[in-house]
């Protein structure tokens, strides 16, 4: 590896001084001297099997270390660099997604899908470079800042009940990570505009010109991401600055009119498309600040195999026609477990200008059908049970055609295992019973300890923290289906904790299923010009294969929102009834008998003594003394009475004195 890298670096150093990828050039920063801010814009187009087209915009800005540059930037967005400096972010990813990535037909094993397929709504994770006890404070500030930056309600992630701390099953995790999602966040153009503002040319020039709002939001899937990597760390001494990757992935349906004209009889032919037909715009030259600025067309393995493309004939192929000639063609390095290779056509936007805008089109001549590379197991999640009291979450894993290939490849060594990591966050009002975790392999219930290798659980605390479950499953390779079920009780919230549309239900964020034994990477045949392209070098990195499950909508029981006052008053009435009637019964009969005695005494005595005795009885709150009672006891009680009167008077005087 070292031997390989050496000539690589030398080549870079000698060849030019225009470009340097920050992460490759760790060792050579010092020799290079002052680093420059760089910006690149790239667009990757990829036909998808179900007559759709994937467009992946990739903009990357890198800012030099702040120490060498002060706080002045030429290209790099100042807001982001301040953010990184203020909260000491090591790595951060924010994604706004609308729609759901269709793993079955759009694939899940290539670098494109495993890093750009995101759960619906907002997903944010960040790794901080601060001491453990400051992380939560940093996270809170970060959510508020991002909320302001992107006009989104990211600040809802502030409360501890919404974000979690994955321990090990979240692939990018490395210690101080915090992870939060807002599944029901609506993503729209108001989030895109601030995102575009971070680009040096905005959407006024270059590839970003294609970002036509109506056509973008008409798509089936739309995911806009912001990925920050900062290696600025005072302790390590190596400081290569901040890298900001902004990607936008859209899946669009090309207008199929062109196809119908050519092959009216063929129903299954892929639609032909061009940039102008899908985006309604053309690229009129590059953003002058961007190097490089290129457009790629990727035909993935399945497609090139279906077309009969091999390393020999990919220049001239019979099944489709490109409207522009590619500047370069890259072939994927042949790998062990698949014979067919992906092909990448590269177009440089620099060559085009206002008068001769760049517009690439693809015209299919014959119908082709292919399958994208799938994740080892296809994951889906659903709710079981009815009613609003309790239910169960089931995560089911189904084998795909990939597993069969994998199995046949590995069947030589008898016991082969497939490792699957599941990371599931549930909000606190979904009260999960972790002891009810059941595992089914091929529809047979299995002992949990047989299948689950490792489990980490942090149970939810009411209104405090969400429940987090991280599970490592070891499945046999020949598995057809596997399922995890776990029961939960639905919580009951206070009326002010319900969302405005309470009867719609609450969303449980997607579970993340990752396959740590597999890495998606697309290594193209060695070529130095590849290193210039951040997008392609990102493809070459080994990124973990992961997929997100569906967001679940859990309907919760609602109280009656309209009558809190009635409930309060009626309940208080019941309490008053209890208190009043109990006190009454404890002293009721006494009064009755007193009256009886009084009536008896009144018959016997005259007016004055009766009045006196009435008064004394009132003062003492006691029964009347019979007149013939012994005088000694009477005087004794009288002295007691005097004492009481004095006490009350003293209290009254004291009260007056205190308050005057």
């Amino acid at each position: 590896m070292v031997l390989l890298q050496r000539p690589h670096i030398l080549l870079l150093l000698i060849g030019t001084h225009q470009f340097l990828q920050c992460w490759i050039a760790f060792g050579s920063v010092n020799e290079e001297g002052q680093k420059q801010e760089e910006f690149s814009e790239e667009l990757l187009l990829k036909p998808l099997p179900d007559h759709k087209l994937l467009a992946h915009f990739h903009f990357q800005s890198s800012g030099p270390p702040s120490t060498s540059n002060g706080c002045h930037h030429h290209l790099f967005p100042k807001a982001i660099s301040q953010l990184v400096q203020k909260f000491r972010i090591k790595e951060m990813e924010l994604s706004f997604t609308k729609g759901r990535w269709n793993y079955e037909s759009w694939g899940g094993f290539d670098p494109l899908s495993s890093s750009n397929a995101k759960p619906p709504g907002v997903e944010l994770w960040a790794v901080f470079d601060v001491p453990q006890h400051h992380i939560d404070a940093s996270w809170k500030n970060l959510t508020h800042t991002l909320s302001g930056l992107f006009c989104a309600s990211i600040n809802f992630l502030e409360s501890t009940a919404t974000y979690s701390t994955p321990e090990w099953s979240f692939p990018p995790a490395s210690g101080n990570v915090r992870y939060g999602t807002l599944p029901c966040e609506a993503v729209c153009t108001e989030n895109l505009t601030p995102w575009l503002k971070l680009l040096p040319c905005r959407d006024k020039a270059g590839i970003a010109l294609l970002l036509d709002r109506p056509s973008l939001y008409r798509g089936f899937y739309h995911s806009q991401q912001l990925h920050l990597t900062s290696t600025g760390s005072s302790s390590e001494g190596i400081d290569s600055g901040i890298i900001l990757e902004q990607t936008l992935t859209v899946v669009l349906q090309p207008n199929s009119e062109m196809a119908i004209e050519v092959h009216a009889s063929e129903k299954h032919i892929q639609p032909s498309w061009s940039l102008s037909s899908i985006f309604g715009k053309q690229v009129s030259g590059r953003c002058v600040l961007a190097k490089p600025s290129s457009v790629y067309l990727l035909l993935d393995r399945g497609l090139s195999a279906a077309n009969g493309l091999t390393s020999e004939n990919f220049w001239s192929n019979p099944s489709f026609e490109l409207s522009a000639n590619p500047d370069r063609i890259f072939l994927e390095e042949s790998s062990s477990h698949s014979k067919s290779l992906s092909i990448l056509y590269m177009f440089q936007v620099e060559k085009y200008c206002e008068s001769e805008p760049f517009d690439i089109g693809l015209m299919w001549k014959v119908p082709v059908a292919w399958l994208c590379q799938q994740t080892p197991l296809h994951a889906s999640r659903f709710l079981m049970g009815s009613g609003n009291e309790r239910a169960a979450i089931a995560i089911s894993l189904k084998s795909t055609q990939f597993t069969e290939g994998f199995m046949s490849a590995n069947s030589k060594d008898g016991s082969c295992e497939l490792r699957v990591d599941v990371f599931q966050v549930v909000p606190w009002y979904v009260k999960v019973y972790f002891h009810s975790l059941r595992v089914f392999v091929d529809q047979q219930p299995r002992a949990v300890s047989d299948i689950i290798e490792k489990i980490h659980v942090s149970p939810s605390k009411d209104k405090m923290s969400p429940g987090v479950m991280e599970v490592v499953l070891k499945l046999p390779c020949r598995v057809n289906t596997a399922a995890l079920t776990i029961e939960f009780d639905k919580g009951f919230l206070r009326i002010d904790e319900y969302l405005p549309d309470a009867n719609q239900g609450f969303d449980i964020p997607s579970a993340i299923i990752s396959f740590p034994n597999f890495h998606a990477s697309m290594v193209f045949l060695e070529d130095d010009s590849l290193n210039k392209s951040p997008l392609l070098s990102k493809f070459q990195e080994k990124c973990p294969v992961m997929s997100y499950t569906e967001v679940l909508l859990v309907p919760l029981t609602t109280p009656d929102f309209s009558m809190p006052y009635n409930v309060i008053t009626i309940t208080c009435t019941v309490f008053a009834l209890y208190f009043g009637s109990l006190l009454n019964v404890l002293q009721r009969r006494v009064a009755e008998e007193e009256r009886f005695l009084k009536a008896k005494a009144a018959k016997k005595t005259g007016r004055l003594p009766l009045l006196l005795s009435k008064l004394s009885a009132k003062l003492r709150g006691r029964r009347l003394e019979p007149l013939h009672s012994p005088p000694s006891s009477s005087s004794f009680i009288n002295s007691k009475l005097v004492l009481k009167v004095i006490l009350v008077a003293g209290l009254a005087v004291g009260w007056q004195y205190f308050f005057s």
Binding site: G387, F434, I495
Partner: protein
Amino acid sequence: MEKLKKKIGSFSFWNWVIASIIFRLILIYFPKNLNLSSRPEVSTPLTSFRRLAEGYWLKQSSMSSYAGSMYHGSPLLLSLLGPLTVKRIEGQPNHLLYSLVSVIADVVSAMLIRATGQNLRLAYLRSLESLDLVKQIDVSEFLFSGDIAALIYLCNPFTIVACVGLSTSPIENMAVILCLYGACSRLIPLAAFGWVIATHLSLYPAILIIPVIFLLGCGPDSPPRKLFLQRHQQKEVLNQSKLPPGFSWGPIIHFAFWAFLWSVYVLVLCGISLKQFGGLWEMFKSTYGFILTVEDLSPNIGVLWYFFAEVFEFFRNFFLIVFHVNILFMILPLAIRLRHRPCYLAFVYVAICSMLKSYPSVGDSALYLGLLGWFVNELADMQFSLFLFCGYVGVSLLSPVMHNLWIWRGTGNANFYFTTAMVYACLQIVLVVEGISAVLNHDRKLRILITGKPQDAKS
């Protein structure tokens, strides 16, 4: 004649006991316990079997059983009953061992109730004798209140449901009854043990210390002490041996000592089992704190859940204080008025707690309905007894229906279910109020029998 009656009575008593045990066993063998273990009437957040199992699971996976807000019971209960939540016998229902423990707890409670009831009856007869009222009141018509109370406890559908529904309330009830039994039969260490365990398990029995002090200080229920004095004044002979004993501090100090000892013991045991998970403070916060702050708003047969779901956050603390103080405020007046009847006082306290507690279940109602059986003779002319009976039947039939309509079908709303809870609370209020007035009337009747005129209302 009387012997024969007694024989028949005791024979049918054992028949009924065996029948109720067999009925429980039959219900246990129904699949999934008839889903009783997840009914809101049976399992509250404090007594739920599933939460116990979850706490045990957390404990087994070397986490604090109070991590998360699932388990709110005692760590001792977890150590004792926890293993039974996972132990299975092939071919038998899943939680057979746990159910058997509940059945045994029920039977033991019933036996203790019977013994205490017999004790109370003997004490009552003795006091009647010393008042020379045996001729006026037909003693042979006196029911065996112990047998009746035990049968009420065993055959009450509430008890059966709580037992078969795998809730922990049979155990809690047993602790309360143990405390009263110990105090009645003057087994001071046992009384202290019962009181400490009951308080540890569900906090509210803490106020039973007042009846226990009266029981230990002046013995079991008897007519007011003043009556005896009057009686002897009338007869002009002061027979000291026939007077009930005065208040004595000896047993109370003894009780305090034992209570202290047991609570230290319980706390040390809890401390050991929670050593690495935040210790006792964590336990108090998630057991007593959870009870007092009414954090869980899932529906139950009490009135607090819906109130706190609807009340404005600003007033929450105020109403928390008001509702808890409602229990405390009545302690003193009741203690003054019913101090000569400590067992009845205990019944009233238990009833009030089960009405106003934050997470009531039918198990609590089962306890006070069982204790009510002790006083069949005193409460013979209680008003509204038919109305109350019909009310209890009606509420226990309507409440599941309303719950079903609201939660499962979605055709009713929360107010429907809450209404049944309100009616239930009102019924309990009527029961307590009428019960107290019946006992006071009974005392008054005795006084009239002695003095021949309503006099000396203050007892």
